[in-house]
Structure formats: C-alpha cells, structure tokens
C-alpha cells in the first residue's frame, strides 16, 4: 500500500532522514517509534505528501504522493500540532472537509456524535486541548480515508477516550482495510494497537518487525540443574542475553518455542519455565546489542 523508497530529507545542515526504505501493507497498523528528533514527524509528513523528499519517493497505491490529489484525497494526516481555521466551529470544519474529501461520510459524522460529546457550534479554539484532539479524530474518522497518518495522536486524551479512539481505529482497519501509520515516543501506548513496528533513530530505520513474529521468535527461559549448568547447553541455543542467579540460569533465546523446549528437556532440568516477554523487553534485548539507549522510547 505504502512504499517508501530510499527517501532522504535535509533541513539546512541537518540530515533529518537518511535514506529510508519501508513497506506498509494495506490494512495494517504501523507504529513508528523513536525518541524526540528521530525524524518521525518528517517521515510522516513526507508520507502525507506535505514535504517533498530531497531524494527517493513515497508511493501510495503505486503512485507518488507529492502533489497528487488523486492519492491525497484518500489520505488524511493528523498532525502533532492540530490545525483548525481561525474561529471555525466543528460544523464549519466538517463542511470544509466535506468539500475537500469525496469520501466524507455525513452519516458517519452524525453517528460519531455519540462517541465525541462536543458542541458542534462551539468555536474549536475555545475548547480544551483534549477536546480539540477529539474534534480532530471526529473529523478524521468521518473523512473515512484509506490511509490515516497520525502523529503522536493520543497525547492529551484521557484513558477512556484513548480506548474509544483505539477501538474506532481497529474497527476501521478491520471493516474497511484502512491503513494506519501512527507515531509515538511511547512503545506502551501503541503496543496493543500495532501489528508492525519500526524504530527510527537519528533519521535511520533501525528495525522493522511484525509484532507477532517478534513475540513468537523470542523467549525468556529460566532453568536450573542438579550439579550446575551443563556447559554444552549454551552451544545449541541462539542466546540474546544471559544472566545467572545462584544456580538459576536466566536467558533470552531466539528460536522456535517447541524446539527450544525439547532441546532443554534433554538436559533434564530441575526447574524449567518459558516466560512471556513484554514488547518492551523484546526491544531492549533486540536493540541492546546494537548499543542504543532506549529508555526514552519506552518510558
């Protein structure tokens, strides 16, 4: 659906994006993670056709996005810093969107009034930050785009509203195969939402994974043996991380779960547990060997 081919972008002397390749499938929710200044917003704005890449191209449905109204009318970008016309009400903004996006659904807009308890005729600028964000989501969902690009979208929403929005997103993805690209500096915020994750650091894409793959692939095991740990046991495992606490060996191992279990059982362990990993742990271990600090991504 979205193809990003070797794009780069510079601001004066700063190279914000350094040759990124990405592929986002139709109907997926792609989480773009990175610390502040990693280049997330720049990348999203290029995907949305706002910024012109200095190198490479961004294609949606095999067509370049930039200056292409045919594509852009199926794409909606919800920025970090929201923009509404000065003194506009939600109704006026809705009329504007309606005139711009052919896919606008007045019916959906009416239906969503139940989800977003906002006054249609109040000036958006007088609303609180959280309400403004709700208004933005209301409008965005009513446009019914094929591609929805969200830059730090959940900031300022309370827990209930967050869940409502997430539900609506998932629902649209399931029903209409909408493609979502969502950026965040907080892994936990999007962990339960995304099926793909990409990590951006200093303008480069460090890692790009399917979450199910990740979780199936990495395991945390705890084992203990009579008379110490057999030396041979480590040779047969792809170990990412290991730690010994007394006689207990704790390690993170890559590989097929069944194979690992049968392999370990051969050594007749006294204690043997396979524990689930949080996404956070996966990333820390995955990235740990690359040597980057991830504290601020995970928070």
């Amino acid at each position: 659906m979205i193809e990003i081919i070797n794009i780069g972008k510079e601001f004066d002397d700063l190279e914000a994006i350094k040759g990124i390749n990405m592929h986002i499938q139709k109907g997926s929710i792609y989480g773009l993670l990175g610390s502040n200044g990693a280049g997330k917003t720049t990348l999203l704005k290029m995907i949305a056709g706002i910024y012109r890449p200095d190198r490479g191209t961004v294609k949606i449905s095999r067509e370049p996005v930039f200056e292409n109204p045919n594509i852009k009318k199926r794409v909606l970008f919800l920025p970090d810093a929201l923009y509404f016309f000065p003194h506009a009400t939600i109704r006026q903004m809705a009329d504007f969107y309606k005139s711009i996006y052919p896919s606008w659904s007045e019916e959906r807009f009416a239906r969503l009034q139940d989800v977003f308890p906002l006054d249609l005729h109040k000036k958006i600028h007088r609303m609180s930050k959280g309400m403004q964000r709700q208004a933005a989501f209301w409008l965005a969902f009513s446009v019914m785009p094929d591609v929805l690009i969200l830059d730090e979208p959940l900031d300022g929403l309370d827990a209930v509203m967050r869940q409502k929005v997430k539900n609506l997103l998932v629902q649209d993805v399931a029903e209409r195969e909408m493609t979502v690209v969502i950026s965040s500096h907080n892994l936990r915020e999007v962990e339960d939402l995304c099926d793909h994750i990409g990590i951006l650091h200093q303008g480069e894409l460090l890692i790009e994974k399917e979450l199910d793959d990740l979780k199936a692939d990495v395991h945390k095991i705890q084992v203990a043996f009579h008379g110490g740990i057999p030396a041979r046991i480590l040779n047969g495992l792809e170990i990412v991380y290991q730690e010994q606490r007394g006689s207990v060996l704790l390690c993170i191992v890559r590989g097929n779960k069944e194979q690992i279990i049968s392999y370990i059982n051969k050594f007749e362990p006294v204690i043997f547990d396979v524990l689930p990993l949080t996404l956070e742990e996966i990333f820390i271990y995955e990235m740990g060997d690359v040597g980057y600090a991830f504290e601020n991504i995970i928070v």
């Binding site: 704005k45 852009k72 920025p79 810093a81």
Partner: protein, 663 residues
C-alpha cells in the same frame, strides 16, 4: 471536468472569504468615501459656489487614494497567503488533496476579485451620481472609466508584487516590508549607484543620468501624478507585463517552495547570500552617499562604506537567522569586504579609462559648456518651460571655442579636481561633446574658480558664447524695447525711466556694448551691482538685465544724459564714508547689532573718508549685500541726510588706501 472541480474548490473559497472578506469590504467603503461621498458632499453645498476644479477622479482625493492603492493590495496578499507562512497551517493546507497550482489560482483570483470589484462598484456609483446629481465638475464619464482602469491596474500590480515577495519569504512581516522596499528599489539603487560613482570617478556626471524620469519608476510617485498625467500606452503595457511576470514567477516559485519554509525569513536557501550581500551592498552605498554629501572627504566616504556595510551585513544575517547573536559569521563579511575592495580599487584606479577619456579633437561636432547638465539632456519635445536670461550652459560650434573647451577638459583630466573645502569658491564645470558620429559624452567637475579663470576666460568672453549667454544679445526672441526702467538694487525703487524711442535706442546700444565686452570676472559675479534694468518689450514681456558696476558704457551714457546722479548714488551725493573691519564681536557679526552705525563715530579703529575721488573708488569697488567674505564694511553718509548706505569689500576689491590704513 475532473480538473475543473479540482482547480476550483468551494470550501477553500468560503474559508478564504471568511478570512479576508473584510479587507474587500473595507476597501469598498474606503473607496466610496474617497470618491462618491465627496460628490455628494459637494452636491449638498452647491449653493456656496466653491466648487473645486476636479479635472478627473484622482484630483478629488489623490493622496488618500494613493494610500488605499498601496496598502490594501499588500494587506490582502499578506492575509491570503498567510497560510504559507505559519507552520501548522502550511502543513494543513498542503496535506489537502489540492495541487499548489490550484491553491495559487484560487487565492490570487479571490485577491484580484476583492480588489477589482470595489473599484468597479465605486466607479458605477460615481457614474450614477455623475448623471443624476448634475453637479458642476470638469470630468466626464470617460474619466470615470479611466480612473477605474488605472486604479485596477495599479492595485493589481501592487498585489502581485506582494504575492511574489510572499513566495520568497516565510514571514508575513518581511513580506510587507520587502514589498515596499522592492517598489522603491529600482529608483533607490539608481540614485545610490550614480551618486557613489561620482565619489569614485572624477568627472562622472551623475545629474545627467538622474533626470526626472526616475520619478516614473517609483510606482507611488507615478500614481500621485496620474491626475496630471494619465498612463501612456507604453506604461500600461509595462505594468500589465510586470503583473504577468510577477504572477508567473510566483506560481513557479510556489511549486518549488518547500512547505517547511514557513516562518523562515527566506523561503529559498539560495536567496540567503543574495539577500545578505545585497543588503550589505545597498547599505554600503547609503553610507557612502551620506558621508559623501555631508563631509565630502574621501576618508569619510570610506568610513561610511565600511561601517554601513558591516551594519547592513549583520542586520541581514540577523533577519535570516532570527537571532541577534550572529557575530561569529564575520567570515562572510570578509569575502564581501575583499570583493568590494577589489571593485572599489579597480574603479578608483579607473580600469576602464573613464576619467581619462576624451574624444579626438577632429571628431567633435559641437561642445557643451556650462555649470549644469540639464540642457545637455536630449529633450524629446521642443517645449522650453522658461527662458533663461543668462544661459550659462550652452552648445558651442565654433572651432576656437571647441578647442578652448577641449583644452579646459584636458587640464581637468590632468588635475582631477576633487570637491575640496568649502572656504574657496567653487563652481561646477560641465563639459559635453556631441561627436560627428552622433555619440554623446558628458563630464562634470567641481573646481575652484580662481584657479581656472584663465580657462574660463577665452570661452566665456567669446562672441559665440556671449551671444547665447545674454538673451538681449540674441538674434531672435527679443521684441523692440518700448521703455527702460532702472531700479535700485536694494529697495527696487524706480530711479530712471526712459520712454523716448531715440533715447531708448542709444541706451540699448550702450548696454549691449557693455554686455559684449563684459569680462569673465564680471560674468562670474565678482563685481558689485548698481541696480536692475527693466526692458519693457512691445509684446508686453519684461526683460531684466543686472546693472553691474563694470558697465562703463552705460555709466558714460547716463553721465552724458545727466541721469547718473538720479540712477545711483554718486560721490557728489556722499558727505563722507566710514570704513571698519568686518570682525565678529562676541561671536556675532558686527551688523547683528542694529545700532552699530551710530556707535561707529565713537570708535577709533575706523577710517573716515571725505575725499570725493576716494569715495568714488569706494562706491565702485564695494558690493552688497554683506556677507562673511567681506573683509571691510563701508558706510556712505549722504549729503541730504537720508539713510546711510552699506557696502563691503572682499579680498580682491579692497582699495589700497584702506588696506594701508586698516591693517
């Protein structure tokens, strides 16, 4: 069909109207106040018989209209394209499925609409009032249409210039500021360049190039003159052409422009050095101009170049970087400095040979000699605004004169006179050539008169020059003189009137002889004046000739006719005279004290003259009115007891006996 719906989007226009509609409305109200309201006001006071002479609509409220024309379009351009200059709105607008081209069309179309419609509505209302009120005005319906056309043209021009500037900057404040600067730029840079050339190139005649056409290229001044001088066809064409250029350029730039240029001083990085060095260069010229005109010393001019260009460079840098802490960028200035040093040195050492250039004597068809460039300007029309009674600057064709002017020029090229201190008397020498192949060349110098008098003499005393110099001596243009009136120099009081044709005739012969024989000293104004001679011609025009003390034939004639003592103060009428040194007392000139004449008789440091021959000499040598060049003051006390007459002697005219007695 698809492209049509894409290029016009109702939502955008509705939004824009909400945003800038008020400008169009206020524009309309202001125009209504400027023209139709004035007509109604005139109508209600039609009985008072004070109808103003309005030849066209510009004369109703020209300067107010000028303010409207040069504010509303700029305001409109700023507000319409405000979305590009703010990050959040720039991102929003460019995320919409609308091509930039379409956005541009829609915004400019609405802008043009909001400018043109109020003008058209105003013109229509004016037209209705014109036909219904029946008031007494000097303009016609055509003038109303012309007004509407010219208003639209000018407003659209200003609008599209502002749009174009908006494309190049990312800040609305700069968009406004730079628009006005750009409108003044062509004229401003011409003046600055030309004036600075005169400091670097001796003989450069800046005035020749700075003729009045310069006003035409400042749109604001051009608009102010529309009432007197409507747009010529070519001007209309030029403005239309410029509108199209701005439009096309804006569109092209907009498509090249990055969204992220919002809030940056300059939207395109390539413009940064252009802006930075451009500002440094212009301020440098301003600095040179300022110190060149106030101090007239080369050292000060260099000082002006240095300080102003440094200030300009760093101010430009501050605007670009949006911080005042830019002083670490001095290296950029260094490049500029070195480049300017090279250019300045090349100019100063006259790499093109400009200062030394002089045509071959044989190629010259005629020369131009005088003190101003004005008459050298190739005038298109034969219309002469006024007749100069003393034509200082003129063309000379005689071989001898061509050679003398040529020699003068050669000397000037050798001496390279620079404007020097103000104490010595200087004059402008303007020398021009028209060559046999039609080429023209002009140079202008400022020289100390005394030093070059020997060069002035053969030219100014030549028959050809003299004949053109004095209107009275010309072959054409002078009608028969019916009456001669002589007046006193100070009071203008009538002294002698001649009406007898024979007497007038013989007086004129004497006067003409004096003019023909007049020396260069007298022509350059170094002698005293007895009074003014008025010649009333048969066509009713009056010719004035200054009666200089050097005119001996007139003097002789008056003596013969026994009119001398009537015409001027003579030694016979003077009882005695007192001479005193012209010194300042307590920092004030002597004459500042109204009672100083009374106090003189009590002073011992004065000379009292009673000898008639000496008084006569004093009368002839003294001049008035008094100024600081006069070393001595003389007061003539008349026999009849009337007010004493004041005069002074400057360095050259002091009689020797005074110099001896009053050291």
């Amino acid at each position: 069909m698809l492209s049509k719906t894409l290029s016009f989007n109702r939502g955008i226009t509705v939004q824009n109207l909400r945003h800038v509609g008020w400008i169009g409305l206020v524009h309309l109200l202001v125009l209504l106040a400027a023209v139709p309201l004035q007509l109604i006001m005139l109508y209600t006071r039609r009985e008072q018989n004070d109808a103003p002479l309005w030849n066209n609509l510009f004369e109703i409220s020209g300067s107010f209209q000028a303010v409207v024309v040069f504010t509303f379009p700029v305001l409109l351009a700023i507000f319409l394209f405000r979305y590009m200059q703010v990050k959040s709105s720039a991102d929003f607008m460019h995320s919409l499925p609308i091509r930039r081209k379409a956005l541009f069309y829609q915004h400019t179309a609405l802008g043009a609409f909001l400018l043109v419609i109020p003008v058209v509505v105003t013109a229509l209302i004016t037209l209705i009032l014109y036909y219904t009120l029946g008031i007494d005005v000097l303009f016609s319906a055509t003038d109303i249409f012309q007004w509407a056309g010219e208003m639209c043209l000018m407003e659209l021009f200003v609008f599209f210039v502002a749009v174009w500037i908006g494309m190049m900057t990312g800040m609305s404040v700069l968009q406004g500021g730079l628009t006005y600067i750009l409108l003044l730029f062509p004229a401003g840079i011409s003046v600055l360049l030309l004036m600075n050339m005169t400091y670097l190139l001796t003989g450069f005649a800046a005035d020749y190039y700075l003729n009045r056409d310069l006003e035409h290229i400042i749109p604001f001044f051009r608009f102010m003159r529309l009432g007197a001088e409507p747009f010529a066809f070519i001007e209309t064409f030029v403005y239309l052409f410029l509108i199209i250029v701005c439009y096309v350029l804006s569109l092209w730039l907009y498509q090249k422009r990055h969204s992220e240029a919002a809030s940056q001083a300059l939207a395109f990085p390539v413009l940064r050095p252009v802006f930075k060095y451009g500002v440094a260069f212009c301020t440098m010229l301003v600095g040179g101009f300022y110190f060149g005109e106030t101090q007239q010393q080369f050292g000060w001019i260099i000082f002006g170049y240095m300080t102003f260009s440094i200030v300009g460079f760093f101010v430009a840098e501050m605007i670009i970087e949006k911080t005042w802490r830019v002083f670490d960028k001095w290296k950029g200035y260094l490049y500029f400095f070195v480049a300017m040093l090279i250019v300045g040195t090349l100019l100063h050492f006259d790499i093109t040979g400009y200062e030394k250039r002089i045509p071959e004597l044989g190629e010259i068809e005629q020369v131009y000699f005088g003190d101003s460039v004005y008459d050298f300007i190739d005038k298109k029309s034969e219309y002469v605004p006024y007749i100069q009674l003393e034509q200082v600057s003129q063309f000379l064709k005689e071989k001898e004169n061509i050679k003398n002017v040529y020699l003068f020029h050669q000397q000037l090229i050798e001496d390279q006179p620079m404007p020097s201190s103000r104490s010595t008397e200087t004059r402008y020498v303007v020398i021009g050539y028209i060559l046999k192949n039609g080429d023209r060349m002009i140079r202008s110098y400022e020289v100390p008169v005394e030093q070059y008098k020997s060069f002035y003499r053969p030219i100014m005393e030549s028959k050809e020059y003299k004949k053109n110099y004095y209107f009275l001596l010309r072959d054409k243009g002078v009608s028969p003189v019916r009456q001669v009136t002589m007046r006193k120099a100070d009071s203008g009081e009538e002294t002698v009137v001649l009406t007898e044709p024979k007497q007038v005739e013989s007086f004129l012969t004497a006067l003409k002889a004096d003019l023909q024989n007049e020396s260069v000293d007298s022509m350059l104004g170094n002698v005293g004046v007895w009074g003014d001679i008025e010649l009333l011609q048969s066509d009713g025009d009056i010719l004035h000739v200054t009666w200089k003390k050097s005119y001996m034939n007139v003097e002789q004639w008056l003596k013969q006719q026994r009119l001398l003592s009537k015409a001027r103060l003579t030694a016979e009428d003077v009882d005695y005279a007192i001479v005193v040194k012209n010194k300042n007392i307590e920092g004030k000139p002597l004459t500042a004290d109204p009672r100083f004449i009374q106090r003189l008789s009590a002073r011992t440091d004065v000379v009292r003259i009673t000898d008639k021959r000496k008084i006569d000499e004093c009368l002839r040598q003294s001049s008035s009115p008094l100024d600081e060049r006069h070393l001595y003051i003389i007061i003539f006390y008349r026999s009849d007891g009337s007010d004493p007459q004041l005069g002074g002697f400057d360095e050259k005219n002091v009689p020797s006996f005074i110099r001896e007695q009053l050291q």
